[in-house]
């Protein structure tokens, strides 16, 4: 008999705006020590399905309409609350997506770690503390005796996720449900956490349900996979079946949406060697004053070198990928070029014009030449302006266009980004995330820029949408011969899209060169570590590869 068997699970949300069928007939079996991967995009019902097992769904609006989930012969969905509490955190434990918010900021880690032990068994506080320290040791937290008395904010994201894992495993559960446990983490940290979960799973013989939107992450760890789409299971099978004998169109779409690293860069132009640089950054330095603005702060200034002596050159029409993990300074470079932050020293030149020293009206006039597409399509459009207003404003900023011509121009922009012209009177909130990003791209293009900076333009979108937006960007920069700087933490996207790549680490560029060269023969230790950490959507490769760990100094 399997450890957990879910049969014909239906969950509906009865909201004010009507009925949402979140899960429609999900079935799966989970055996001891096995890993089940559940893959799907946002709104696919993958998380709802797992939350229902532990009674974590808010009800109302959620209602389990039918189905069963039998754990050791007992139905989790229909047992009394007290009985379920005995299982929750004891026999079935869970870790969540965002380690920054999933720990209680008001409580010491120790108190949070021993809680599962003290409520599920008659263990003494001292004994529980010892077990908690042992658990911290096991998940690789150095100096656990001291760290156990820290508060969560004293830990980095990766360390917090380790604490979450320790907290889940401290009671030695039979099943661990991991809900996108690495999505909020940097790629190198993600690799470490994935390895850790795998190691602990083998050691304690735990069954794992691994929820993710990323097939690459699932490929390396799952024994079997179910693919969900809008509440339905569209395909299920062993990992090899899903990846190598894909039958359903949606799964194929998901797999193809991941730009596989082997694919040659579609955007590759002839690299115009020896040409004059069209755009250059010369010894750029951008410092942030960190004023101690805390409650009891004394207002002392500290200087943080967000961008430290960076130089880059680009030929017209080239695409540069700027990669690095969060906090490495890649977005600060973008803001420095866009003149949204003050640079401390250095020079930025675009087509012979030094844009870093322009001021006032001159700067305003020059701004049309360099435009930016922002990360969050939900925040980059003014919610109180219609699409027409936004685009018309952009068109009118650098030149005066009369009313009748304006409409034509706006419609042209809409067609360019693949949106129906009829929608120009709508407001941003009436569009989906992908559509909004299209509008944002249209707005940037309205000023006919020569240089376009795209700062993580697809990271807030679903994978299948990501591919569409990337293709649109490529098409447009080729059509209008725009030079682009593409900023991303996602290496496979950069490889797919760019001619050159610069790898950043702590404000500095550690490696810079032709994209293919960097991906095939990375020279710097950090680049190697970064590359070895990218999850590959290919189970065979993923199972057999070695990670390189980068430790500065």
């Amino acid at each position: 008999m399997s450890l957990l068997s879910v049969k014909d699970l239906h969950i509906h949300f009865h909201t004010r705006n009507g009925l949402v069928k979140a899960v429609n007939g999900v079935n799966f079996e989970l055996n001891k020590g096995e890993t089940l991967g559940i893959v799907g995009e946002s709104g696919s019902g993958k998380t709802v399905c797992c939350y229902s097992l532990l009674g974590l769904l808010p009800s109302p609006p959620a209602r389990i309409e039918s189905g069963s989930a039998s754990f050791e012969g007992k139905d989790l969905l229909h047992m009394p609350e007290e009985e379920l509490r005995d299982i929750r955190g004891n026999r079935i434990a869970m870790i969540f997506q965002d380690p920054m918010t999933s720990l209680n900021p008001y409580m010491k880690l120790g108190a949070q770690l021993i809680e599962p032990l003290t409520i599920h068994s008659d263990i003494s506080k001292d004994e529980a503390r010892k077990r908690a320290i042992a658990a911290m040791q096991e998940v690789g937290i150095p100096e656990p005796e001291r760290r156990i008395d820290c508060y969560p904010h004293e830990f980095s994201g990766g360390m917090r996720q380790r604490v979450m894992i320790a907290m889940a495993l401290v009671t030695e559960p039979d099943i661990l449900i991991a809900d996108e446990p690495t999505t909020a983490l940097d790629v190198t940290v993600q690799a470490q956490i994935l390895d850790l979960i795998k190691k602990l799973q083998d050691k304690h013989d735990i069954a794992v349900i691994f929820i993710s939107h990323d097939l690459g992450v699932i490929a390396g760890c799952a024994d079997k996979i179910i693919v969900m789409h809008q509440g339905d299971i569209v395909e299920s099978g062993t990992t090899d079946e899903i990846f190598y004998k894909t039958s359903h169109d949606y799964t194929k779409k998901l797999l193809n949406a991941i730009p596989t690293s082997g694919k040659p860069a579609a955007a590759s132009l002839d690299t115009n060697k020896g040409q004059e640089p069209f755009f250059s950054i010369d010894q750029l330095q951008t410092n942030y004053d960190i004023r101690d603005g805390s409650f009891f702060g004394n207002g002392k200034k500290e200087i943080h070198k967000a961008v430290d002596n960076v130089s880059l050159e680009l030929v017209e029409g080239e695409t540069l990928g700027l990669v690095g993990e969060s906090g490495c300074g890649k977005s600060t470079i973008a803001k420095s070029i866009m003149r949204l932050v003050n640079i401390s020293s250095g020079k930025i030149t675009l087509d012979g014009k030094t844009i870093s020293s322009l001021e006032g009206e001159e700067l305003k006039r020059a701004r049309g030449d360099f435009q930016m597409v922002f990360q969050d399509p939900y925040a980059s459009l003014n919610p109180r302006m219609t699409v027409y207003d936004s685009l018309a404003e952009a068109l009118n900023t650098q030149s005066n266009i009369d009313k009748s011509a304006l409409l034509d121009r706006v419609v042209n922009l809409m067609t360019d980004v693949g949106l129906p012209a009829q929608a120009i009177r709508k407001y941003p909130h009436e569009f989906s995330g992908g559509q909004r990003q299209r509008i944002a791209i249209a707005r940037a293009l309205a000023l006919q820029p020569r240089l376009l900076i795209a700062d993580e333009p697809v990271s807030a979108l679903d994978v299948t949408i990501q591919a569409q937006i990337l293709d649109l960007l490529l098409k447009l920069i080729q059509k209008y011969r725009i030079t682009m700087i593409f900023i991303s933490h996602d290496l496979s996207v950069v490889r797919y899209l760019t001619d050159r790549t610069a790898v950043m680490y702590q404000g500095k560029i550690v490696e810079y060169g032709e994209t293919e060269e960097i991906f095939n023969k990375p020279k710097h230790k950090y680049t190697q570590a970064l590359l070895s950490a990218i999850p590959i959507a290919d189970p065979d490769k993923e199972r057999s590869r070695e990670r390189i760990i980068f430790s500065p100094e």
Binding site: T101, S102, P105, I119, F295, K300
Partner: protein
């Protein structure tokens, strides 16, 4: 921490100076002096009185004399209550006002927090609507309406409790304390509900639930501390407001507290008493705001930690 408190206390000095200056200027801009009301007094007597209280000096001289005295803790003699110094009057009224305020705040916190927490556990159900409608009633029934109404019902019609007074008849403290406490209970209920709803929607509450904790444990151990932050930051201004609320309550129930002295001093143009009570109230407000800030930090380890690195 110590440094922060010192800094805040230093910042209080200019605030107090402004208070003194504005009050002083206002009073001196007013037509008529404190002794002009007594018509029958011959001019020589008024002159003598004015001389005694330095009222014949130019305003700026009076101002500096007054400042000098305040530093020494001397608010001068009262104009109206002859033979009593302002310091004495404040010292006599203060315990009464404080006692009233203490009961009121205890009532407000107990009623308010429990109502707010209960409502937040099941938002948009009957369990939420009932306490919150009561809270809305509390906000919309000002003390000067609620007080008399309660007197009418409980003291006059039902004759359960005394109509007025403070410490004369057993039970005479109940109505004033309830009257003053109820409005604040209402505000606190709304704030705790909001704070708790915010905290209960956080990810770490989900973590606590996934551990198998009971709802009661989740509320007391995980949610209450964060959920009470809006209440704590409200307490500073609330305590200050409680004092001015005590004007009304002390007037309605004829309680010999600071509030009543102040209102009477204002009507009587009792310069020194007005200045004294104003300075005293201002200092209290500053002190309460400081206390509220300290408790806020104490409740939140993130802020507490920053304070250490700051020093």
């Amino acid at each position: 921490m110590l440094k922060f408190i010192l800094k805040r206390l230093l910042q209080a000095i200019p605030v107090l100076l402004i208070v003194i200056t504005i009050t002083f200027a206002l009073i001196h801009a007013a037509p008529g002096g404190p002794f002009s009301a007594e018509r029958a007094v011959p001019p020589e007597v008024i002159e003598a009185l004015n001389a005694q209280y330095n009222l014949d000096d130019p305003a700026y001289v009076q101002y500096f004399i007054y400042l000098k005295n305040i530093v020494r803790g001397d608010f001068g003699p009262s104009f109206k209550y002859t033979g009593r110094s302002v310091t004495e009057i404040i010292a006599a009224g203060m315990p009464v006002t404080f006692e009233l305020g203490f009961y009121a705040i205890m009532i407000a916190l107990t009623l308010g927090i429990s109502a707010g927490v209960i409502a937040s556990l099941k938002p948009n159900t009957i369990q939420d609507y009932i306490p919150m409608s009561l809270a809305m009633t509390g906000i919309c029934l000002p003390t000067f309406v609620l007080g008399p109404m309660m007197v009418l019902v409980f003291a006059i019609w039902l004759d359960w409790l005394p109509v007025s007074g403070w410490g004369y008849i057993p039970g005479d403290k109940i109505l004033p304390a309830l009257t003053l406490g109820f409005a604040y209970a209402a505000y606190i209920a709304r704030l705790s509900r909001g704070g708790m709803l915010e905290i209960l929607s956080q990810d770490f509450i989900r973590t606590a639930r996934a551990k198998g904790l009971k709802t009661a444990t989740i509320v007391t151990r995980h949610a209450l501390r964060g959920g009470m932050q809006p209440v704590v930051s409200f307490m500073g201004p609330a305590l200050a407001g409680l004092l001015s609320g005590s004007f009304v309550v002390e007037t309605i129930f004829q309680i010999p507290g600071m509030g009543r002295y102040f209102v009477q001093a204002a009507f009587n143009r009792d310069y020194t008493l007005i200045l004294g009570t104003t300075v005293f109230f201002a200092s209290l407000i500053i002190l309460f705001n400081l206390l509220a800030d300290i408790v806020t930090v104490w409740l939140n380890p993130r802020l507490r930690d920053n304070s250490n690195s700051g020093n």
